[in-house]
Each structure stands twice: as C-alpha cells, then as structure tokens.
C-alpha cells in the first residue's frame, strides 16, 4: 500500500474509492465505471498503476488508436488471449467484425483457467471517441457484464462529462467518479518530486515556485508544466554552474530566469519552436530578442504590386462597399455624416471577420491606391492567383462562377500593417473602423 502511495501522489481518496469498488478478486464489481477529469489529472496513470500493482487481469485500449469498431474489438480480444495463455509462443490472431461476435468470442476467451473466477477489467481511454463510432457500441459496453454473463467491468476514461455521452433512449448508468484537478500545492509537490539528483530538493522546489508563478495563471496542465520545468532547468542552474551565485541566492537566480520564462511562454509553450531548438538557444546564449518562431516564417517577401493587391483586398474585405466613394475618389462631394458615422460596436468588421468582395471592386481600389498607372495585364491576375495559393486570399464560391470570382482576405491586422509600412502606405487612414 505504501508503495502505491509513493508512486501515485495526491490521489489517495480516488485510489481508495477504486479499491473498494474492485473488492476481492472473485467478487462481481459494478458493471461500468466512468472516470472523468481534466487533461493530465492522472486518470490514465492512476488506473494503470493500480491495476498493475494489484495484478488484476486487465486490458488497456486507447480509442484514438482503435478508431474503428473492428480495431477496437480485435485488440481487446487479442490482448485477453495473451493474458490467458502466457505459455504459448504465439496464439492465433482473432478476427471479429461485429459486436455480436465479440460477445461470443469474449465468452470463450474468459473460460480460460487463469481468467475464470476473477473480474476482468477492460479500460477504454479517450472514451469520447466511442460516441462517434457505431451507435450500439457505447450502450453495449456499459452492459457488457449482463450481455456476456461474465465477471467483467468496463472502465471509461474521458475529459468530457458523462451528460454528453448519454444516448437519447437511455442506457445503463455507470458509476461516475471525478478526478479533481490538482491544487497549486499538489502541483508543487508532484513537480518537485522529479528533481535531478545533483541538486538539493529545496533548490528545485524554489525553481518550481518561480515557474508556477509565471505559468500558473495561464496553464494548469501537469504535462505542459513538467515539460517546461525540464527544459528551463539548465538555464536556471547556469549562474550556479558558472560560479556567479550560490544555490541560496534566490534574487539573482530569479532575475536571470524571469525574462527567459516569459520568452518561453511565447515560443515553446505555443510550440512555435521545437524543444531541441530551445535547448540549443540556451547553450549558445544568443540574444533572445531575435527568436523567430513558426509564425514569423509566414512573412514572405512579396513583389511590389502583390503587396498593393493584398492591401486593396484587405480594404475591400473590411470596409463596407458604400464607403468606397469616400475613401477612394478624389472629389467625393459632401457625404451626410449622420447615417454614415453611426456604427455599432458589434458590427465593427474587425470583429466579425472579412467579407467577400468581387474582383472588379478589388481592381477599382487597386487603381486608386497605386500612384502610377496600372494596366490590367495578365501579370496582375496571375499575382492574384498566387496570393490565393499562398492562402493570403481565399476564393469564395465555385471556380466557374459566371459573374466573376469572389475573394476574401485572410490576413491579420498586424500583418497588413507590416506590409503597408514597407510601401509607405498608411492603411489606418483608409480603414472604416478606425475613423
């Protein structure tokens, strides 16, 4: 028991509930158990460790791997077969196509000597994918004990709550168990548990404290925090290794690591750069300001006219058509201010997204914003098409529409501002939302 406590931290009450549910080996247990909780709240880990430590016969299946009915059922049967016949070199693979065959073969497999008289556990991880498979699968598994008339319990692990699983016509309700999220104290305890042996536990605990201070408001996922802790620890130890500070010099250590962690939030946390790149950067000690993530690579260099086409497309998407006259004609005369300037915040186009516009409108705006005369050559049209290929514009509707193609501009405001700066064009002046 104490071994279990050392391996599985901060989950005593859940472990004791599960143990009391399992009972003795030959007792019939509740037919189905549903365990739900946040990502990385230990559901898979605790269930696996518990079943392995107590050496109960179990089969562990992940529903993301086995995404069709056949894969799922065959894996369960084959694993059970391997459990029961540990002496045979390789037993034959079982094929099973329907749930009916599954129940029949299941009855046969569990007649084996070492599986009789014991509860067999089937654990289905990521059970939310079961909802998208055949409709009889979920109710069938919930009642497997009754249908197969054997001592079996099915355990479902999922992040989604049970109410979203329930089929419309009702089903056998499983025993619902909640794995609460870890509190900040628990997280500290678990993260400090895997400290490298060269440094003291207090030193590592102080580091974890700093890490949680930066990341706790954003993310409570244990896996992510662990990953970040492992990646950034060498940088934290740098001053101590170089001899500039001792282990207890918390202020200096904090000043060293804090900008580093903030940078990590923008890059490694978002998976903009890979962890091996991050480690290399730490070793080379380059200036972190020049870090280029994945999204920086979308800033391709465009030719001169393409930039203007993109700017014109952005203006066409985000300005309503009736305002074109005001922005783009040299002599637009007086426009009534009342209706024109009234705009609700909700209909600010920057909140709703880009609107589709016809090609003619794009060309009209283009001619008015480019200083020199632009001829409508094939060059311009091919540049428009290449922008579509780069996914900076998207084609709305079918390719072969008779009354001209419609486009939509799919770049963000920051991107277009950067582009317009390179051609000395003040785009903000031309945007309706910023009047």
């Amino acid at each position: 028991m104490t071994h279990l406590e050392n391996v599985v931290l901060c989950r005593e009450s859940q472990v004791s509930t599960l143990q009391s549910l399992f009972g003795e080996r030959h007792h019939f247990s509740f037919p189905s158990i549903f365990i739900y909780g946040h990502t990385a709240s230990g559901k898979t880990y605790v269930t696996q460790t518990l079943l392995k430590t107590l050496e109960l016969p179990h089969v562990f299946v992940n529903c993301v791997e086995c995404f069709t009915l056949r894969l799922l059922l065959e894996q369960i049967l084959n694993k059970l077969n391997n459990l029961s016949s540990s002496e045979d070199g390789c037993s034959s693979e079982i094929t099973c196509e329907t749930f009916n065959d599954f129940v029949r073969l299941f009855k046969q497999v569990t007649k084996a000597e070492n599986l009789k008289d014991q509860t067999v556990y089937i654990v289905l991880d990521k059970a939310e994918y079961l909802r998208d498979m055949e409709a009889n699968l979920l109710p069938g598994f919930l009642r497997l004990q009754e249908l197969a008339d054997r001592n079996v319990t099915v355990i479902f692990l999922s992040e989604i709550v049970w109410e979203k699983f329930r089929p419309n016509t009702g089903c056998f309700e499983p025993f619902v168990l909640y794995f609460p999220d870890y509190s900040i104290g628990n997280l500290q305890k678990i993260l400090s548990h895997d400290h490298p042996p060269e440094y003291s536990a207090d030193f590592y605990a102080a580091y974890i404290n700093i890490l949680l201070g930066v990341f706790y408001t954003v993310c409570r996922d244990l896996k992510e925090l662990r990953h970040l802790a492992v990646l950034n620890f060498p940088k934290y130890c740098e001053p101590v290794v170089r001899g500039e500070a001792s282990e207890r010099d918390t202020r200096k250590l904090w000043r060293n690591i804090e900008p580093h962690l903030k940078k990590a939030m923008q890059t490694v946390y978002l998976r903009e750069i890979s962890s091996s790149q991050w480690e290399k950067l730490q070793k080379d000690d380059t200036d972190l300001g020049q870090l280029k993530g994945l999204s920086a690579h979308t800033h391709v260099e465009l030719p001169y006219y393409s930039k203007f086409i993109l700017i014109a497309a952005y203006l066409a998407s985000y300005n309503p058509a009736r305002t074109d006259r005001r922005f783009f004609l040299k002599h637009h005369g007086k426009i009534k201010k009342t209706n024109f300037l009234k705009k609700h915040e909700k209909t600010s186009n920057h909140l709703l997204g880009p609107k589709p516009f016809p090609l003619d409108r794009l060309l009209a705006i283009l001619y008015s914003i480019v200083d020199s005369r632009v001829a409508p050559t094939a060059n311009i049209f091919s540049q428009i098409t290449s922008l579509v290929t780069l996914q900076l514009l998207t084609l709305v509707g079918h390719d072969d529409q008779l009354d001209g193609p419609k486009y939509k501009c799919t770049v963000s405001l920051d991107f277009i501002r950067a582009i317009s700066r390179t051609v000395n064009f003040d785009i903000i002046k031309y945007l309706y939302d910023f009047l």
Partner: protein
C-alpha cells in the same frame, strides 16, 4: 429478470424442458437481420443443417430453419420461445423483416412459436409497420413502479440487510440492527425522500447505496447517516462545475468575457475576436495589466475550452474561414458560471468583481 424467473419455473416442468427450445436475441448485439439470423441458427444448433446452402429471401431461410426442427417421433415440430431484448432496436432494422417473419409464423399455423419482446419505450406500437402491427397479438404487460414512499423505505432496508446465510452471524445481526436504526433517522429519511422525488427508479437507489457502501471499511464497519448524506451529494454533483473548477485563471477570464457578451447580445453566437476584444477591455484598466497576455496564448486557452466541449462551434468548420472568426456558442449558463466561480480556489478579486458587474466600462 422477470423473464428469467418465469423461464426457470417453466423449465422445471419436465415435459417442457425436453421439448421447448429457447432463442435469446438482443437488439444491442444483433444490429441487422443477417446477424440475427445467424445467431438464431447458432442458438438452435442448426449450423450443420444450414451448411453452405444459398437462400433467396429471408423468409425462405427462416422457414427452412423452423422445419428442420421437426422431431423424430412426432410429426409436429418443437415449440420455440423467442425472447427479444431491446425490442425497439429491432424495429429500426430495414423493413422490419425479422419481426414480420416472426409474427407471421406465430399467427399462421406452421410452427408453434412464442415471441416475447422487452422494451423501455411505451410508444413501441407506433414504431411497428402496419403489416407487422396487424400480425401482432397486441398483448402488452406493463411493469410500472407503483409503490409509495413507505414502501421505498422498506425496499431500502431490505436491500441493505444481510441475508441469513451470511457466514458471520454476529456481524450480520449487528449490521441489520444498524440498518433498522438508520431507516428511522430523520436525516436519512430526508435523503431518501429527495431521491424518491427525483426518481422512483431502483437503479438510482442502488447507485446511492453503492456510493455510501464504498465508505465502509474495516475501521468503519457500520454505515452512518453522514455516509448517506455525502453519497447523496455526490449523486447530485454538477459535473460541468467540476470541470470549471479546474480551469486556469486565463480560461476563467475568457468564460466571463463570453458571459458578458451573452448578456449584452442575448445569446447570439460569438467568435474568438469578439471574446478577445472584451477581454482586452478588462485588461486595459490600469490595475489589471498583469493579465496582459499575447494573443496566441489567449488563443491556446480558447482552444483548450473547445477541447473540453465547454464551447462548441455553431456549424462545421469549413476550410476557408480563419479560426478566429468561427462562430461559437457557450454551453454553460449564467447560474452555473456564478456558482462555479464561488467555489473557484484562489480566485483573484478583480476577476470575481468583473464577473458580477455587467458594466464593462467602469
């Protein structure tokens, strides 16, 4: 359970057990008629007879099977009892061929069969096609829970008491006495009354008893009223509130921003850009600059909420639109959010105040 009991009694009559064959079918397992037919063949042990014969229609196949049951000394064939569990699922098969054939044979004088269907749906007759319905004998037996509260308490006592065959007689006596005392306690009666009002279903009673029995251990051998009350609380727990409990502060801020959007615009769907805008209004007040995160970080939190199915897209994702502009709906309502916020550990006070005030420019 009733069926099994009745069948057991029937089988005790010797003539019957020699003669009668049983076929048990379940709607969850046999999801179309072909599988059902194979299962019938298997259960009647007729595999050697059918072999590799090829049949034209379902009806031919079926009548061949039943003819094959003719016994040696008598010219009539064996009576067969068909028990169809989850009967409503059989009614969803194509053309309802299995049901049609079963009822047809039972009405005509070919082979003596009896068909018993078990279902939870009261409107089962509406699901049957006209030709199937006409062949049905319209004999229905309703099993309803028609007991009152005192009987509910009696059932509670009975379920908990240990039977006389229990090996440790002394413990069994003490346990049964404890159960008797419990059933007379006021708090226990209240808990049972609450459950009875929600559902008379015996399964939910079992769940409640199961949850409270979990707490019985070697050091805590007798059940107390507190166990029952805590079990009752577990039963009526709001699972979505539990999920909200585990969210990070940034995600909670996003949910509050969505709540405000829902209040102002009366539940119209929103997209990420609108939520981010609302969140920025909160952040820009001077004291709150600690929450000034970059947009991609906020997007990651938004996607986590989507993964937990707390928000859902209104229509399926199309490849053309950007993710930030996809319209979503929030699947929590205001009372759930406020209750969850009360229980949220270490909730920063400014976030909590933002949630309660609906005036966002203060």
């Amino acid at each position: 359970m009733l069926i099994n009991h009745a069948l057991r009694e029937l089988m005790e009559i010797e003539e019957v057990s020699e003669n009668v064959l049983q076929v048990h079918l379940n709607g969850l397992l046999q999801i179309n008629d072909k599988i059902a037919l194979k299962e019938i063949t298997r259960q009647l042990n007729l595999e050697n007879v059918v072999g590799d014969k090829v049949f034209g229609s379902f009806a031919e196949n079926f009548s061949f099977l039943l003819e094959a049951l003719k016994k040696g000394d008598r010219t009539s064939s064996c009576p067969v009892i068909f028990i169809l569990d989850e009967f409503d699922l059989f009614a969803h098969h194509k053309n309802q061929t299995l049901l049609y054939n079963l009822f047809d044979i039972s009405q005509s004088a070919q082979t003596p069969i009896a068909v018993i269907g078990l279902t939870c749906r009261l409107d089962i007759l509406e699901l049957l096609e006209k030709r199937v319905k006409s062949r049905f004998s319209h004999r229905q037996i309703y099993l309803m829970n028609s007991f009152g509260f005192p009987q509910y308490v009696k059932i509670f006592k009975e379920q908990l008491s240990l039977p006389a065959e229990f090996p440790d007689k002394l413990f069994a006596e003490k346990w049964n006495e404890n159960v008797q005392c419990l059933s007379e306690e006021r708090s226990v009666q209240e808990v049972l009354q609450k459950h009875f009002n929600i559902s008379k279903n015996l399964r939910s009673l079992h769940m409640l008893l199961m949850l409270s029995l979990n707490r019985v251990t070697a050091s805590h051998p007798f059940m107390t009223a507190i166990d029952l009350m805590e079990a009752s609380q577990l039963c009526s727990m709001d699972s979505k509130a539990n999920i909200v409990h585990g969210l990070s502060v940034l995600e909670i801020c996003l949910i509050i921003a969505m709540k405000h959007l829902n209040d102002i615009y009366e539940e119209e769907p929103f997209n990420f850009q609108m939520v981010y805008n609302e969140f920025q209004k909160f952040v820009q007040r001077k004291a709150h600059s600690v929450y000034n995160f970059e947009k991609p970080v906020v997007m990651k939190a938004f996607e986590h909420l989507q993964q937990l199915e707390l928000i859902k897209p209104v229509e399926r994702t199309s490849g053309n639109s950007q993710r930030e502009y996809q319209l979503m709906k929030l699947l929590l309502d205001n009372t759930q959010i406020m209750n969850a916020l009360q229980k949220y550990p270490n909730c920063p006070t400014d976030v909590r105040q933002w949630a309660t005030s609906s005036l966002s420019w203060l």
